[in-house]
Structure formats: structure tokens, C-alpha cells
Amino acid sequence: MSLFWIVIRHLAEIEAMATSKKVITKEEWEKKLKDVKIRKEDMNKLVMNFLVTEGYVDAAEKFRLESGTEPDIDLATITDRMAVKKAVQSGNVEDAIEKVNDLNPEILDTNPQLFFHLQQQRLIELIRNGKVEEALEFAQEELAPRGEENQSFLEELEKTVALLAFEDVSNCPVGELLDISQRLKTASEVNAAILTSQSHEKDPKLPSLLKMLIWAQNQLDEKAAYPRINDLSTAKLEDPAV
């Protein structure tokens, strides 16, 4: 049986158990789990939702063919969105901006914070590539006006421009801006904005379900001793502590 099935059944069982405190053995638990009904279609939809939101186009397409589950958005739009995400992750911010504007010109026009972060990323890339003169020009032309238009960006702006002041950028206090994680952060922000503009939920459902599981187990811990799932990746049922 797939891990996924186990997790979902476990969650449903816990919710039912929440009212009484006692000790439940592994055998009793597994027997109860067997009685819980979960529909395969629901599971497939969760998987499809995960693949689509995260942008795994090929996997989503294959899953669609093999399971017959219809995605809730057009897979073609995923391709466009993934192209943008990839461009940011590779540091080609200008390209990403052009692609977003082709997809939907409203996104950056109505999202000042996102636009600022993309401009900020552009500056970071220029500095990373040692193009100091261009970076200075860019900071003056593009980032300073953002700070003027909106006071709340000033602090982040100052941090970014500080990068220019250091000879050895990798060792300066704001060095974390040069980290790959900064690119991923920006990429994630763009991804979410595009999903929202396409009227799609920006977070997949699966993590929420797992969070619910952990929360439900914590709640039940106060009332009963039962087989817990401690490792989400294996979904293994641990014997109850007695």
C-alpha cells in the first residue's frame, strides 16, 4: 500500500479517536485503519494538484494520461510559468520580467513588492558578475525611484546597495543576498503571483494535509497512546509508548 494511503487513513482515524483517552495497540489501530474509506479519485486529485502547483509539467502530463485525472488548470500555462521560474533561478531576471509581461502585463503593474524584488535581484546579478559600473547605473536609474515611490522598500534597498560598498562581496554582512536561496525566494514569489493571477491557489493542498496530520497527532497525544507516524517520508507506524 502506498505511503500516501497510510498517511491519509491515519489522519482520518485520529480525528475519530479524538474523544477518548486510552491505549491502542498497533493491531487494533491497523484494524481500524482498514475500515476507513478513502476515494482513489480524491488521492489522484491531490497528486495532480501538487504536480501542477509545483510546476512539474511532464510529470503532470504523464500522470494525466496514466490515471485519467484532469488537471484543474491548462497545462500549457504551466509551461509558461515554469519558464519564468527557471529564468529567475538561473539569474536571467530581465528575461523573466519579459516573460511575465507577455503572460500577463498586469502582474508586475499591480504588484509593487514583487516588482521591487525582481529589480533587486537584477542588481544582485549585476554585482555578482562584477559589473560594477552597470550596477551603479541600474541602482540609480531603477531602484532609487522604487524607494521614492514607496517608503517601505527603503530598508531593503539600502541593504542591497550596501553590496556595492564592499570589495569582497562574499564576506560582507549582507552577503546572504548573493546566495542562491535569494534567487529561489524571488522565483517562488513570482510563481505565486502568476498562479494567483490565473485564479489558481498558490499553495498545493498536500502540505496542508500533512500539517493537519502533525497537529492532529499532537492533539491526540494528550488523550491517548497510539501508533504514531514520526517520519512523514516513510509513514511508518511506531508502536505506542506504554
Binding site: E106, V132, P145, E149, S199
Partner: protein, 662 residues
Amino acid sequence: MPTPASALASASSSHRRASSDLMVRIGSADSEIKLRALRELKNQIIGNRTKKLFFLKLGAVPAVSCALAQAQAQAQADLLVQSAAALGSFACGFDAGVRAVLDSGAFANLVALLSFPDDKVVDAGARSLRMIYQSKLAPKYDFLQEKNMEFLLSLLNSENETVTGLGASIIIHSCETVVEQKALCNAGVLKKLTSLLEGSPSQKDASLESLATIIKKNPEAASKFVSESRRALSSVIDLSKDRNPRTRLLACMCLIVIRNTSPCHLQDIGIKTKLVYLLLELLDDPGQVGEEASFAFSSLLAQKEDLQKLAFEANAIDKLHNHLQKHLLQPRRYQGILLALAELCSKLESCRSRFLSLEVLNLVTDALTHEVADVRTAACICLRSVSRSIKSLSAGRFMKEMIVIPLVRLLHDPSTSVQVAALGAVSNIVVDFTTAKSTFLQCGGLKLLVQLSKSMDPILRFNALCGLRNLMFLADNTCKERIFLELTAPSLSSLICDPEPFVQERALALVRNLVDGCLDSIKYVFAEDGIILDAIGRQLQNTSKAEIGIQGMYVLSNIASGNEFHKEAVMHQLLLQVNNGTQAFILKFLQSNDSQLRTAAIWTIINLTIPSSPGASSRVVKLRSASIVSQIKTMVNDPCVDVKFRVSTALGQFMTIGDGST
């Protein structure tokens, strides 16, 4: 490394060269070059207000409009998409851009794009038009023309989300009058919008906003909406629990509009409580939703004591206080929270006590010196509400320098709306039940009030007089003298004869407070040859407004409670016209439909004919010959108890005085 200065100097000149080159390429005859240039321009301006302004000044908008028109003639989809997108971006949240786009004549061309066979072109056109319609500068849409209504319906019926969004924006922008609301209802727009409530997130939002616009202040539209579909109202209620905070806010705003417009819907305690909690929670949103939530909260609470009570029980004051304490409050958010506090404290003493106990007053007085006029106005309105607390006024909580000084300063604020709001707060604060009112007078407040009472703007004159009247309330003799000397008799008489009746009434109310109380105060109306008393007499003769009559008669009544000289002066005013053959105004007042006016008139007669005063009997003779006594006799069974009681007192006095005849 090159010096920063030289780098920047060369940067700006190369930038200028690049942009003029871009402008040239936009006008190119070669489609490829033009397309690339348009795309480049679009990418430069999107999200970038500074660049929009820059290119606007370079004349980019007419150039792009031209490109749009040419592309239309040659049905070139790519060029249409890029030029429409560029124009849309110029118009996005940027009024100067909207104006430029409209001036360039592109509007009609954009509308034509909506029927183009290519979906991407339709999308681009609809999006740009929607941007334009979000601005007040957009052209007014005439719903009353059949062709236009049909076009609007076709937009709302479209499969394309952006196009339906455009339809909704047009309604939100242009639907203003009851006639327009009715026309939209009759054309079946409500039904269409109700179905869009089940659509995509953007359709839901657009529909909620347009429904609110059509239903606002129109009870018929509200009823039609609720009755046309069984699920209509419940759909909106469901949307108030939507995942998206903006949708929740718009749903709340729609429900509030329905509630306020049509008192038979949404009145149960459940929905009221829900709305209070939803809005308090939405206040926490850091963006625009949070800002607008406070305004929605104000409209929920306005004039509704039951809701203010519910909000108080939900700890609204504490929550709003917490928001006020945050740093860097955006001006609109600051304004919204202050106005919400003002509504909360407008009627309930419990709210005002809580407000004062939390020391919120300090945060509000800080706002009196904020750089944005709307925030200053909101702070004054808030102070006005809170200072309705008689308990706190008596305890002198407001007559403190840290409040009075900035407030008095606002009396010369450059913005009239700030001045009016400040006058409102001042008017309450000076009713502090202390006879000296020294703090206010020391800050030069009196001088400013008098100055404003001479303003060209009648609203300012009116509000200044309210302040002066309240300042005069229960003031001691020294204070009264100071006020009178500052105001001067000629000035007061001219205010009594002001062109605006509502100003006249206030001036008379001021005089009433002036002569009230100690007998010594009556002397003021006789200053400078009695110009004030003469002015009062003239106004009472000429007025047709009950309010003015009431104030004037109470002034005369107060004067008539004085000594013989005072009583005779009042008699003189009452009988002035009788000598010329015209009816005495007091007769008109005694016959008035307004019971308050009849009461005021009788009081004057009572004070004039108190049996113990020496000249009483000769006054009764004069009143009798002016037919006033006989008029009073007919009022023995007046429907108003107050009047009836006073009439019997007056008649009793006439009898006691006795003059031989009955």
C-alpha cells in the same frame, strides 16, 4: 574603478540617447522594428511609475496610439497586443497616463479590439480598458442609451474573464444615479452579476463590487437583488468566508450596503456579529485590504448604536488602539482607523470611557499635526466624538494644552475641511462646564474663532459660531466680556443678518447664551445704540424659518426677564410694525405650526407681564390692543402640553393684573 559621479553622468546621457532612439523606432515603418520597440517600451514602463512619467513627457502615448491605429487598419495581431498592453500600462494606477491615453483618441480603437477574432488581442484590449475605467478620469458611460446597455450586457455575458471584468468596472465607475441603477436592474444585470458570484475569483470580486454600486441607497434594487434568486443573498454571505481576503472584504462591503439601504434585510444578531468580527479580522491585513476594512467598518457602525455596542463587546477599541500604535502607518490606514474610532465613540459613553482609559487620546492628538490633511481632519472628527462625553468634559480631560494648542492651530489650517472638523472638535471642548475656559482663551482660540466667523465661506462662519456659542455657554462675566469685546457689536449684528439663514440662527443662539444667566449680561444687546436688539427685531420680522424665530424669541424672552428698561425695549421691538399697520411677528409665531416656536413666544409674553413688575399693566393694555391677548386666549387648549401650560400661566397673570375687562 571609475568615480561614481562620472559613471552616473555618462549613464544619464546614454539613457537619454537610448530612449529617444526607442521613440524613433516606435514610429518606424518596419513592422518588426516597431514590434520590438513597442515590446521594449512596454517592458520598461510596467511597474515603473517613474518611467511612465518619463516616457509620457517624451510623447510616447500619442506615438503608441498611432501604432495601434495603424495595426488595426492592417489587422496585425502582434502589434495590436503590444500597443494595447503599453497603453494599458500607462493607464494603470496613473491618472496622467489615463488622461494622455484618452487625449490621444485611443479609446475607441481599444473598444474595437474587443470584437477582434484573436483572443489575445481581445484580452489586451479589455485589460487596458479596465485600467482606464479604474480611474475617475474615464469617460462616463451612458447606461440609459439602449445600444450602450446592450453592449454592456454583451461584455458581462462573455466567456472571457477579462471582458466580464471590464463590464463590471464600467458599472462601478459610471453607475451613480437612481435612474441608472434602475435601468441596470431592468436590463437584467443583477441576475447576470449574481451568476458571476459563482465564477472565478476575479469575477467574484468584480461582481461583488458592481452589485454594491447598483444597490447603494436604492431600496428597490436591494429588494430586487434578494428576491430574484433564492441563493443571491446567501452567495454573498458565503463569500464573506472566502479564502481570499479581498473577496471577504468586498462581500462584507456588499452586505453592509444591503443592510444600510434596506432595513428589512440582514438585521439578525448573527449576521451583525459576523460582520463585526470579519472586519476586525480584516484590519490585520497589511495591504490595501486592511486599509479599506477600516472604512467599511465605519460605514457598518455609522449611526447604528446596536452595532457600536456589538463592536465594543468585541473589543474593537482595544484592537484599533493596537493598530494605531504601529510604526509607519500609511496615511490612508491612519485616516481609516481614526474615523472608525470616531464612529465607535459617536454615541456610547462606554466606548468613550474605554478610549480615554487606554490613553488613545495621545495617539489621536499626535495625528493633529500629521502632514496629510485627511489625517488631520480624521483626528478632529475623532476628538469631536470622544469629547461628547459630558463626564470627561466636566473632569477637564480635554481642556489641556496638549490638545487645545494643536487644535487651535488647525483653525488656520490651509484646508477648509480641516478647519471645519477642527471647529467641530473645538465646539465640544469649550463646553467644559468650567466658567473660565482659560486654556482655550490663552491659546488665542477666541481670536481665531472670531476671525473664522467673518470668513467668506458660510460653512466656516456657521461652524465658528457653533464654537462661539458653546464657548459662551455658562461662561462667567469676565469670559463673556472678553468674547463680546473680541466679536464686537457691529459684527454680531451683521451675523444676525447674514445672507445664510443657518448662520443667522447660530448667531441668534450665540446671543441667547450671551444674555442668559446673570441680569448683568443683558446689557450687551444694548451696546452701541442697541444695534444688536434692532437687528434681532428686523430678522424676526422678515424671517419665515421657525428655527430663527425660536432662537430670536428666546433671546427676547431672556431680555424680558430683566428690569423695566429691558422689558420696555422688548415691547418696542414687538410692536414696532403694528404702528405701521403690519401684523406683529409675535402673532405669526403664536399661530405657527411649530410648538417650540409657540412656546418661545409665550415665554416672552410671560416675562413681560409678571404682575410684580411696575409697568406690567400698561404692557398688558398694549398687548391687548395689538390682539395678542385675544390670540393667547384662543390657545387655551393647545395640543402641545408645554404651550398649554404656559398659556394658562400667562392668562393667570393677565387676570391677576386685571384691567377691568376680560
